[in-house]
């Protein structure tokens, strides 16, 4: 009876730790900022990148910019999922709190995974807000859209990008220019995941990389949901996207634990 109660309280402690870590890491990411700067960092770059690609497309001779508009909106969660999560992990080292974290008895899984909760929700909300704005500005037709499926796809994309964020955050712990790698990958997504054009237009060897990345299948599924597809039509894409996301999150966590173990042996993590 006693051990059952102790087990229950351990689970409660883990859940509490998960949410507290999630909240504090999210506050640390954005609370120092002003609302205007926060808003600009959320929508500014994405909006103007979208405009840039729209005009590049128009100059190239594409008549309909909606493919680019929806693609760039669906890419928005990646800003939170990749940059937000990787920064939340990497800043532990930058601000000198990583040693305390590794020295604490707190469970690593809730501490590590908690860093994704609010960026995932934030990324989902960002894209969900941007859709109606696109409806007004670019006359995006949502009349046939399978709304719940579309929202589900956006939430899934937000989650799967956080898996990549975990990996990049862990890399940032052992590489001082980790944020440069993160930024480069984010820029590369404009080509690789079907944001501005279908991935079928890429050379075959690049397409292999595309399908190994999160978002590619998620964006395809979201586009189908936008056009009114139902679950059977997108199920394979959705399940594939979920699988890729889980694999990336597990890889990120494993990498984090390996780095932790290595740092305990060498004691040189802060020198890197």
């Amino acid at each position: 009876m006693k051990s059952k109660a102790a087990g229950g309280s351990a689970i409660l402690r883990t859940i509490r730790l998960y949410f507290i870590q999630a909240w504090f890491s999210y506050r640390a990411l954005y609370l120092w900022n002003t609302p205007l700067n926060y808003f600009i960092s959320k929508f500014g770059y994405s909006f103007f990148a979208m405009l840039m690609f729209m005009f590049i497309g128009k100059f190239a001779g594409l008549a309909d910019p909606l493919y680019i508009v929806t693609g760039n909106i669906l890419l928005m969660p990646s800003m939170n999922g990749i940059s937000g999560v990787s920064t939340a992990v990497a800043d532990e080292k930058r601000f000198g709190t990583l040693s305390y974290l590794f020295g604490s008895p707190a469970g690593r899984a809730p501490v590590f995974m908690g860093r994704a909760l609010f960026p995932v929700l934030d990324g989902f909300l960002t894209a969900a807000v941007a859709m109606p704005v696109a409806l007004l500005l670019f006359h995006l037709d949502l009349s046939k859209t399978n709304l719940w499926l579309l929202l589900g796809c956006i939430l899934l994309i937000s989650f799967t990008t956080s898996g990549l964020g975990f990996i990049l955050g862990s890399i940032s712990l052992v590489n001082r220019d980790g944020w440069m790698i993160t930024s480069s990958i984010e820029v590369g997504l404009f080509i690789l995941v079907g944001v501005n054009f279908p991935v079928d237009l890429l050379p075959p060897f690049v397409r292999v990389i595309s399908y190994g990345l999160p978002m590619t299948r998620g964006i395809q599924a979201a586009r189908l949901a936008l056009a009114g597809a139902n679950w059977p039509a997108v199920s394979q894409l959705v399940l594939g996207e979920a699988l890729v996301g889980v694999i990336y999150a597990l890889l990120g966590y494993t990498l984090f634990r390996l780095i932790e173990r290595r740092s305990l042996v060498s004691g040189a993590l802060d020198d890197l």
Partner: protein
Amino acid sequence: MIKRFFRLVWRQMNVQLKIRIFNQYTVLLFFLQPLVFSAVGMILARAAGNLAPDLVYTVIGGGIMGMWSGLVFTSTWDITRDRLYGTLELIVGSPTSLGKVEAIRTFTNVMAGLVSLAAAFLAAMLIFNYSLAGANLAGALVSLLLILFGLWSIGIFLANFLVWSRLSDQMVEFLELPVAVLCGFMYPLRILPVWMQDISMIFPIRWALGALDECLSGSHDLAVLGLQWGLALGIALLFWAMARWLDGKVHDLVRISGELNSI
């Protein structure tokens, strides 16, 4: 006096170039991001049924984009780094004015950005067989010098805001894409709605870029080129004058209030 000035320029440029070379972010700004934007342009051109992309805008425009991105981020990061490492106070307190230091740094950043343009030209010529035969090379050189001067004047203008407040770095960095969109780095300005073309008139690089495009297309029309060069030079000088005025204001502000480290 002149010898001392050139010594200062040399020392500043030396340090600045070392920082740029050893910073991997430079690779992203000067090469990777322009490459991605150019690649998107090329793939979209192919998707639209064009046999070949427009090399001036799609490839060389990417190089201009690299120069601009490099300037925005390196110039903001210079001040942010000084603030972070505590050297901003030392510069403000030194007999050499911060404005002068920033002017030399920005000049170095602009010149370093030329590698992005050079890489784009090389790619256009070696990979896509772009030819400069028939181009107005002397005019293109004048236009390029005006692009550099325009970039430099905007760079020193923006640097003041970063000294003024640490929160302005996000605002300044945010300008990267809006200016690129408005100035038509990767497409001709006629693509933009008229109201956006009107806004773009306040940027000197817009006029110098227009002239560069004309010259690369072989235009020798001095009336058209002269107007664009004149506007580019005039507006760049206006930015420079505003930068000088702001420099004095900001310098006084941080010295009088003593709040440099807290703002």
